[in-house]
Symmetry: C2
Protein backbone atom coordinates (compact mmCIF):
# COMPACT_ATOMS: atom_id res chain seq x y z
CA UNK A 1 0.00 0.00 0.00
CA UNK A 2 1.27 3.41 -0.95
CA UNK A 3 -0.15 6.84 -0.40
CA UNK A 4 -1.02 8.88 -3.49
CA UNK A 5 -1.81 12.56 -3.81
CA UNK A 6 -4.51 13.09 -6.41
CA UNK A 7 -5.56 16.41 -7.90
CA UNK A 8 -8.89 16.55 -9.69
CA UNK A 9 -9.74 19.61 -11.79
CA UNK A 10 -13.45 19.96 -12.49
CA UNK A 11 -14.49 22.50 -15.12
CA UNK A 12 -17.77 23.42 -16.71
CA UNK A 13 -17.85 22.19 -20.31
CA UNK A 14 -16.96 25.01 -22.74
CA UNK A 15 -20.54 25.18 -24.09
CA UNK A 16 -22.06 25.65 -20.61
CA UNK A 17 -22.70 29.19 -19.36
CA UNK A 18 -20.73 30.11 -16.23
CA UNK A 19 -22.54 32.81 -14.21
CA UNK A 20 -19.92 32.69 -11.43
CA UNK A 21 -17.21 33.32 -14.03
CA UNK A 22 -19.19 36.24 -15.45
CA UNK A 23 -19.47 37.76 -11.94
CA UNK A 24 -15.72 37.43 -11.45
CA UNK A 25 -15.13 39.03 -14.87
CA UNK A 26 -17.30 42.04 -14.11
CA UNK A 27 -15.91 42.43 -10.58
CA UNK A 28 -12.38 42.42 -12.03
CA UNK A 29 -13.39 45.05 -14.62
CA UNK A 30 -14.87 47.21 -11.82
CA UNK A 31 -11.55 46.99 -9.97
CA UNK A 32 -9.70 48.23 -13.08
CA UNK A 33 -8.52 44.87 -14.42
CA UNK A 34 -9.87 45.54 -17.88
CA UNK A 35 -7.31 43.36 -19.63
CA UNK A 36 -9.22 40.25 -18.52
CA UNK A 37 -11.24 38.96 -21.47
CA UNK A 38 -12.86 35.93 -19.91
CA UNK A 39 -13.07 34.16 -16.55
CA UNK A 40 -14.33 30.67 -15.71
CA UNK A 41 -14.55 29.16 -12.26
CA UNK A 42 -14.12 25.47 -11.57
CA UNK A 43 -13.29 23.21 -8.64
CA UNK A 44 -10.00 21.82 -7.47
CA UNK A 45 -10.38 18.68 -5.37
CA UNK A 46 -7.33 17.20 -3.68
CA UNK A 47 -7.42 13.67 -2.28
CA UNK A 48 -5.00 11.53 -0.30
CA UNK A 49 -5.56 7.88 -1.20
CA UNK A 50 -4.02 4.65 0.07
CA UNK A 51 -3.95 2.05 -2.66
CA UNK A 52 -1.68 -0.55 -4.24
CA UNK A 53 -1.02 1.03 -7.64
CA UNK A 54 -1.43 4.20 -9.66
CA UNK A 55 -3.64 2.38 -12.22
CA UNK A 56 -6.02 1.29 -9.51
CA UNK A 57 -6.10 4.85 -8.14
CA UNK A 58 -6.88 6.20 -11.62
CA UNK A 59 -9.78 3.80 -12.13
CA UNK A 60 -11.24 4.49 -8.70
CA UNK A 61 -10.90 8.27 -9.00
CA UNK A 62 -12.55 8.20 -12.46
CA UNK A 63 -15.45 6.40 -10.80
CA UNK A 64 -15.55 8.94 -7.93
CA UNK A 65 -15.68 11.75 -10.50
CA UNK A 66 -18.55 10.13 -12.38
CA UNK A 67 -20.51 9.34 -9.22
CA UNK A 68 -19.87 12.31 -6.93
CA UNK A 69 -17.13 14.81 -7.70
CA UNK A 70 -18.42 16.09 -11.05
CA UNK A 71 -21.70 16.38 -12.88
CA UNK A 72 -20.87 14.63 -16.17
CA UNK A 73 -23.76 16.36 -17.97
CA UNK A 74 -22.24 19.82 -17.61
CA UNK A 75 -18.68 19.28 -16.35
CA UNK A 76 -15.41 17.78 -17.51
CA UNK A 77 -12.73 16.48 -15.16
CA UNK A 78 -8.98 15.94 -15.33
CA UNK A 79 -7.15 13.66 -12.86
CA UNK A 80 -3.46 14.04 -11.92
CA UNK A 81 -1.83 11.44 -9.70
CA UNK A 82 1.40 11.86 -7.71
CA UNK A 83 3.00 9.12 -5.67
CA UNK B 1 -0.43 42.64 -27.14
CA UNK B 2 -0.66 38.90 -26.70
CA UNK B 3 -3.33 36.72 -25.22
CA UNK B 4 -2.40 34.67 -22.17
CA UNK B 5 -4.23 31.79 -20.55
CA UNK B 6 -3.88 31.98 -16.80
CA UNK B 7 -4.80 29.26 -14.33
CA UNK B 8 -5.18 30.25 -10.68
CA UNK B 9 -5.44 27.54 -8.04
CA UNK B 10 -6.91 28.76 -4.75
CA UNK B 11 -6.63 26.46 -1.75
CA UNK B 12 -7.48 26.81 1.90
CA UNK B 13 -4.28 27.07 3.95
CA UNK B 14 -3.33 23.70 5.47
CA UNK B 15 -4.15 24.88 9.03
CA UNK B 16 -7.69 25.95 8.06
CA UNK B 17 -10.55 23.48 8.55
CA UNK B 18 -12.33 22.51 5.32
CA UNK B 19 -15.95 21.47 6.01
CA UNK B 20 -16.69 21.03 2.29
CA UNK B 21 -13.72 18.66 2.03
CA UNK B 22 -14.97 16.73 5.08
CA UNK B 23 -18.39 16.34 3.42
CA UNK B 24 -16.77 15.04 0.25
CA UNK B 25 -14.68 12.62 2.33
CA UNK B 26 -17.68 11.19 4.15
CA UNK B 27 -19.80 11.01 0.98
CA UNK B 28 -16.98 9.08 -0.72
CA UNK B 29 -16.76 6.69 2.25
CA UNK B 30 -20.55 6.14 2.08
CA UNK B 31 -20.19 5.26 -1.61
CA UNK B 32 -17.56 2.62 -0.73
CA UNK B 33 -14.44 4.66 -1.52
CA UNK B 34 -12.84 3.92 1.82
CA UNK B 35 -9.28 4.22 0.52
CA UNK B 36 -9.63 8.02 0.54
CA UNK B 37 -7.85 9.38 3.61
CA UNK B 38 -8.42 13.09 3.13
CA UNK B 39 -10.19 15.47 0.76
CA UNK B 40 -9.84 19.23 0.38
CA UNK B 41 -11.83 21.42 -1.98
CA UNK B 42 -10.44 24.56 -3.60
CA UNK B 43 -11.16 26.78 -6.57
CA UNK B 44 -9.77 26.73 -10.07
CA UNK B 45 -10.08 30.09 -11.81
CA UNK B 46 -9.17 30.35 -15.49
CA UNK B 47 -8.63 33.74 -17.10
CA UNK B 48 -7.93 34.93 -20.63
CA UNK B 49 -5.86 38.11 -20.47
CA UNK B 50 -4.57 40.48 -23.16
CA UNK B 51 -1.31 42.06 -22.08
CA UNK B 52 2.16 42.90 -23.35
CA UNK B 53 4.29 40.47 -21.33
CA UNK B 54 4.12 37.47 -19.04
CA UNK B 55 5.76 39.46 -16.20
CA UNK B 56 3.10 42.11 -16.38
CA UNK B 57 0.41 39.39 -16.39
CA UNK B 58 1.98 37.79 -13.31
CA UNK B 59 2.06 41.06 -11.37
CA UNK B 60 -1.51 41.92 -12.30
CA UNK B 61 -2.86 38.44 -11.50
CA UNK B 62 -1.09 38.48 -8.12
CA UNK B 63 -2.91 41.73 -7.42
CA UNK B 64 -6.25 40.23 -8.59
CA UNK B 65 -5.70 37.30 -6.23
CA UNK B 66 -4.97 39.55 -3.27
CA UNK B 67 -7.91 41.86 -3.99
CA UNK B 68 -10.65 39.55 -5.23
CA UNK B 69 -9.88 35.97 -6.20
CA UNK B 70 -8.64 34.70 -2.85
CA UNK B 71 -9.00 35.52 0.80
CA UNK B 72 -5.36 35.91 1.87
CA UNK B 73 -6.23 35.34 5.54
CA UNK B 74 -7.33 31.75 4.99
CA UNK B 75 -6.30 30.86 1.41
CA UNK B 76 -3.14 30.40 -0.64
CA UNK B 77 -2.98 30.82 -4.40
CA UNK B 78 -0.77 29.53 -7.21
CA UNK B 79 -0.66 31.22 -10.62
CA UNK B 80 0.26 29.42 -13.87
CA UNK B 81 0.63 31.43 -17.08
CA UNK B 82 0.54 30.05 -20.63
CA UNK B 83 1.05 32.14 -23.73
Amino acid sequence: MKEFKVKVEVRLKPVVLDPQGKSVLSALANLGFEEVRDARVGKLIELRIRDGSAESVRNRVDEMCRKLLSNPVIEDFVVNIEE
